[in-house]
């Protein structure tokens, strides 16, 4: 009888690496995945670059920067590659800052909802019966509600919401989707021999959940979330567009709000087009990423051997 415990752990890690490599190979084959990833990298670069313009000259500050010579909306020029908005602020800096905000909102909301969804999904799946029923009914109710409108009514009650409050509320409405998947996984794991073994060895419920179930369930939830990120970005953009975003944050939705509300939408295409294109493209890229992920996760979706 070999000493299996340490072997087991390194075996597990080995399995992860092997699975990751296999997944990456499949992912690379998918055209959608490649395009999605490249677009995403482009946006990430934009987000990183957003720190540069204000360093070059304070007039490039997205929110407060003011060009001493311009105080209205102008088209693209050498000084302002995309032009300026109605207050003379540089549009390109705003666009880059918007990328930063989009990632921040998307990633934070995704993380929060993964965290919540995983915790609730595992609990529901593992505890079963009443706890499970209650939690899943709650999830059902939340899934029915239109997130945007709920945030609106909350804004009516609690006044202007700041960006983190918005992110939190979005996460509160996204966890049901995650929890369903995690619950299904937990249910299938619940009756596996290694769980039974842990129970017999006297492990508490909490320990079982966190030590044994979670490691098997977490990678799935992370992967699953990659394309759920988009809805958070869209909701934030829609809120900002309607005028209920965080007034201190420059997001793409906010830019659209400005071009719309200041009546420039018909005469400033250089202002109207870029933010909308960006929101749409980032949504598209995450969607593509998600589809490629699906192929990695679900072998049935991979291209079968067609006739040569």
């Amino acid at each position: 009888m070999r000493e299996e415990r340490s072997d087991n752990r390194s075996l597990q890690r080995f399995r992860w690496i092997a699975r990751f490599r296999e997944g990456w190979a499949i992912y690379r084959q998918s055209l959608l995945g490649r395009i999605g990833l490249s677009l995403l990298v482009m946006f990430a670069l934009m987000a990183l670059l957003s720190f540069i313009p204000p360093k070059i000259d304070p007039m490039y500050e997205p929110m407060t920067g003011v060009d001493p010579e311009i105080s209205h909306s102008t088209g693209p020029s050498k000084k302002h590659w995309l032009g300026t908005d109605f207050m003379g602020r540089d549009l390109l800096s705003q666009l880059l800052a918007g990328a930063r905000v989009a990632f921040m909102v998307g990633v934070s909301a995704a993380f929060m909802s993964i965290f919540l969804g995983t915790a609730i999904g595992m609990t529901a799946g593992y505890m079963g019966r009443i706890v499970d029923t209650l939690l899943m009914r709650l999830a059902d109710m939340i899934m029915v509600m239109p997130t945007l409108l709920v945030v609106l009514i909350l804004a009516a009650l609690f006044g202007q919401l700041n960006i983190w409050a918005i992110v939190l509320i979005i996460a509160l409405f996204r966890w049901p989707g995650v929890s369903r998947v995690i619950r299904a996984q937990t249910l299938s794991l619940k009756h596996r021999p290694f769980i039974e073994a842990a129970k017999v060895a006297g492990a508490s419920h909490l320990r079982i959940i966190f030590r044994h179930i979670m490691p098997n369930v977490l990678p799935l939830s992370f992967l699953y979330m990659t394309f759920r990120v988009t809805s958070a970005i869209i909701i934030e953009a829609a809120l900002a567009f309607l005028g209920f975003g965080d007034p201190g944050t420059v997001s793409w939705g906010m830019m659209l709000q400005w071009v719309w509300k200041t009546g420039h939408m018909f005469r400033a295409p250089y202002w109207l087009l870029p933010p909308g294109i960006c929101i749409s493209l980032i949504t598209l890229s995450f969607y593509m990423l998600g589809r490629a992920m699906d192929e990695v996760l679900d072998p049935r979706l991979r291209k079968e051997g067609e006739t040569p």
Binding site: V144, L154, A155, A156, L157, S231, Y287
Partner: protein, 325 residues
């Protein structure tokens, strides 16, 4: 019959969910910062009116009695007075409801029908240019940012081309004209509806197309398709008569699942096009701090969403005999 039992069970569920929503909203109303009375009652009204309204809404009573008043008022349709319009809220939202329903249901139905039809065709031409064109088209229209799409459509077709009005639901000249007949008025509404309808349609039909396409590809692998071929049926009959009805079912499910998303889109569309529906009213009232109107609009939208879910479920039960019998 099975179907009736199914419907009544779902209705009970809806009532329970709505009850929970009502209660949560009430609690938030009490917990939010600021004076709840000032939130519900316009202080600029006359003293007597203010007192009367407070009594009606039970705002001077302890919390639990207030809750009872709240429920009672909801059932009798007393939602208070709108700050902005100075009218009973119920009149306003009742007036707006049909406008939203027209726009919303027409766009969803159209998107579903076209999406299913094109998705079926795309699956049949899988791998060809037609399929790629449709799939990419669906992908792009589905991921475009809705308000932005709306703005673009207005800019190009209303502003630049002048084919359609920029906003609103009706042209006052036509509706105020005593000589204008029913047809003229109807056409006027349709004329105004084209752009908002197109916006909603474009956003939705893409996802239905993609789902139908993959659903068809899955369905064509089923055993009963082999039976169909063995029976000597033409591919056309197999595709349309055997595969499509089965493949369309997930699309119906998808319509139901994405109703919340669709309502969001509906509200945004109404706002950009100034279409006088409840969605727009909600947005508008929140920006005006008109809480009574905002609350009522929200609740009405919640009812619309829940009932739409029920309608979709019933439709699914009707289409899938395994549920009906």
């Amino acid at each position: 019959m099975e179907l009736w039992r199914y419907i009544s069970r779902r209705l009970v569920q809806i009532v329970i969910i709505f009850f929970v929503i009502l209660t949560v909203l009430f609690l938030l109303f009490r917990l939010a910062p600021g004076d709840p009375v000032e939130r519900m009652v316009d202080p600029t009204m006359t003293r007597e009116d203010v007192q009367r309204l407070i009594a009606q809404l039970g705002l001077d009573q302890p919390v639990w009695i207030q809750y009872v008043y709240y429920l009672k008022n909801f059932c009798t349709g007393n939602f208070g007075y709108s700050f902005h319009y100075g009218q009973p809220v119920v009149d306003i939202i009742w007036n707006r409801l049909p406008n939203t329903i027209i726009l919303f249901t027409t766009s969803i139905i159209l998107a579903a029908l076209v999406g299913v039809f094109l998705g079926k065709i795309a699956s049949w031409h899988k791998g060809t240019k037609t399929d790629a064109f449709m799939t990419i088209g669906a992908l792009i229209t589905h991921t475009v940012f809705l308000p932005w799409l709306a703005l673009i459509l207005i800019w190009v077709f209303a502003f630049k081309m002048g084919w359609f009005p920029i906003n609103g639901m009706i042209s006052e000249e036509i509706w105020l004209d005593p000589d204008a007949g029913m047809w003229a008025k109807l056409l006027d509404v349709i004329h105004h509806m084209v752009l908002p309808l197109t916006t909603l349609f474009l956003i939705h039909f893409g996802s239905y197309l993609l789902i139908m396409r993959s659903s068809m590809l899955e369905t064509l692998k089923e055993d009963y398709i082999i039976t169909g071929r063995a029976k000597g049926l033409t591919e056309k009959v197999i595709r349309n008569h055997h595969a499509a009805p089965n493949a369309a079912l997930p699309v119906v499910t998808s319509v139901g699942l994405s109703l919340a998303f669709s309502i969001n889109g509906g509200a945004l569309t109404e706002t950009v096009f100034t279409w006088p529906g409840i969605g727009r009213e909600l947005v508008f009232s929140v920006s005006q701090n008109d809480y009574p109107l905002a609350q009522a609009s929200f609740l009405l939208i919640a009812i619309v969403v829940l009932l739409s879910n029920l309608v979709v479920d019933i439709l699914y039960a009707y289409l899938d005999p395994r549920i009906r019998y």
